[in-house]
Amino acid sequence: MNKFSTVFTFEAKSLLRKKSFIITTIILMLIFFSVSFIPRVITLFTKDSKQEESIHEGVVLLTDEFSQEDFIGMDYVIYPDESSMRADIEADVISSGFVVKGVHAYDLIFKDRQIGNIRFQDDFEIIRENRILEMMGIDIHSYRAALSTPIDMHYDILGSDGFSNYPMTYLFIFIFYFLVIFYGNVISSSVAREKGDRTMELLITSTDSNSLLFGKVLGAGLIGVLQFVLLILAALLGYYINKDSFGFDISQFIQIGTKELICFILFTLVGYFLYLFLYAALGSAVSKMEDVASSTTPITLLLVGTYILAVFTMNVPDLHIFKIASFFPFSSPMIMPARVNLTSVPDVQVFLSLGILIATGILLGFFAARVYRMGTLNYGNRLTFKRMISGLFNRN
């Protein structure tokens, strides 16, 4: 491993010098930066359309239990009969109409039904409630006044604040997923390219394959992390410029504890390199660049599977499968930080899982170096999984 730093520096430098890498970084930073302008742009458009829509709903009253004033006060157009309202809906004068049949019944008429809440449902609830209270002889104003008194309550969370940490947890999972998918392919292509260029024979006769593989993966991998940090910074800068359009303050989600943050960083970094070793191994198992995508599919599937498991079980972090997955080294980088965020996890479990992850990572590194070494001997042939495994136990 004594030539590790030489390989590490060379790989990192050659990636940093690549025009394609610099251009991609700049373009991605611009995209991340401009995405933060989307809420501002959306508000510009939605302001206009809301005003137009609000006068576009009609009501027909087929009952004496409500008065027209109840609805006019809420910006509805009153129609004398259902057929004239239907005609206006057909002619796009109004977007929808409601035929009120009694305190407990109404019909809805749409031209095109769209996704989202129907304002009338909420409005009708209030009008109906008022009517019922009236019928029961209760004073509506004192009832509403009593209800509007704020409740004096405060949280006392002994473990993790799963509710507030939820968005951050999702972000953690996504960051890991993105990092691995994005840079995994960079690594496997770079290894496969070396094989395609026939540089590998020169490399492995110049130094040991462990130095080569660890240097390559850690060098290129760290540059990946650097690029990713730049993207996040670009996005954050954009957010602070457009802070007002977001409608929420991001800092309310970043109230994450130090323990959670350290846990996330450690698991993400170690897990990221563990996956990169896998990508490197599979990159050296193919003989042509074109085969890289198909050969790395199993890892991608594993990653997507873990991602889906993480996202779907986030709501119930105490589920058994969630616990088990937080120890399994290929899923723990996503799931253990999520568990720590969402529920109480004993420190010993966190350390155990991290230990398993680090040990597996190092083992996989040496495994990848063996496969990398074996890959050089297989010009023209694709290294099958069976040969890969049998080769590991072979003295060659």
């Binding site: 060379f10 130094t207 001997l377």
Partner: protein, 298 residues
């Protein structure tokens, strides 16, 4: 130094690529490892470099097991490959550093060799902008960077024009003078003939002949002469004197001396019978002929 291969065998699946390969090479003597395409040269070189281990046999350096990873060694693989998109000097320094050179030492050596092969002005350019022949030169000099004691060069002359071939022949001769151990392979016999001290011929994975080239030539030349004569009667007279078959190419006769007859006897016999002799020489087979003969003997 003395590098010895003993009974090396190697198979890939059912294909027996190397069968009992043995030969010895010495520092300061140019060793040509010669054979046709697919005869097993590159596989032998790769076994030497421990790219893969032989199935059986041993490789010894001065009588001790040879470990390529630990020896001071420069290697030109048959599969040429460096980084097309990296600056030339950077990757030369990288390869030298991987083999243990210091940063300054690697830089100095890279610049020296680039200058030596006339490519120093391209040192900051990407490898891919060079012509194929010039890329080949970069490939070769990477083997020299760390001033190794042993040089294993697989087909160093393929793809080079005559001027560059000559340049590298001179460099190799210079390295031999410094008592380096140089092994190179080639399939172009005529090309390397004049400058091999020792040869090992490989045919179908087997060494058919190995040793000192001059000695081999002399042995193979044993009691054969080349006679040039314009006389019409030469053919008939030769038959009557030697009572043996001989080969004829225009005016040149290739004759094997019968038992008991000396060169002097033959020449006097010819002159006595009025045959005009323009030249009379010992026959020395070319490397090409030696190769064809030794392959045919298998």
């Amino acid at each position: 130094m003395q590098l010895e291969l003993r009974n090396i065998t190697k198979s890939f699946g059912d294909v027996h690529v190397l069968k009992d390969i043995s030969f010895t090479t010495y520092s300061g003597r140019a060793m040509g490892f010669l054979g046709r395409n697919g005869s097993g040269k590159t596989t032998t070189m790769r076994c030497l470099m421990n790219v893969f281990a032989p199935d059986s046999g041993e490789i010894l350096l001065d009588g001790k097991p040879f470990v390529a990873d630990k020896a001071s060694i420069g290697y030109l693989p048959e599969e040429r490959g460096m980084y097309p998109k990296e600056p030339i000097v950077d990757q030369l320094i990288y390869f030298a550093r991987l083999r243990g050179a210091s940063k300054q030492g690697a830089h100095k050596s890279a610049m020296y060799w680039l200058d030596r092969v006339g490519l120093s002005e391209y040192h900051n350019k990407k490898l891919e902008i060079l012509s194929k022949g010039n890329q080949q030169k970069i490939q070769i000099i990477q083997a020299f960077l760390t001033d190794p004691d042993i040089l294993i060069l697989d087909e160093p002359f393929s793809g080079l024009d005559p001027v560059n071939s000559q340049l590298f022949k001179e460099i190799i001769l210079e390295l031999l003078k410094q008592k380096k151990l140089v092994v190179f392979s080639s399939h172009q016999m005529a090309y390397v003939e004049e400058f091999c001290d020792d040869i090992a011929l490989i045919h179908n994975g087997r060494i058919t002949l190995s040793g000192d080239l001059k000695k081999i030539k002399r042995e193979r030349a044993h009691r054969q002469v080349l006679i040039e004569s314009p006389s019409e009667s030469a053919s008939a007279v030769l038959s009557s004197i030697t009572k043996e078959k001989f080969q004829r190419k225009e005016n040149v006769f290739h004759v094997r001396l019968p038992e008991g007859m000396t060169k002097e006897h033959l020449l006097l016999g010819l002159l006595d019978q009025g045959v005009k002799v323009e030249s009379f020489n010992d026959y020395l087979p070319s490397l090409h002929q030696i190769f064809l003969e030794s392959a045919g003997e298998q």
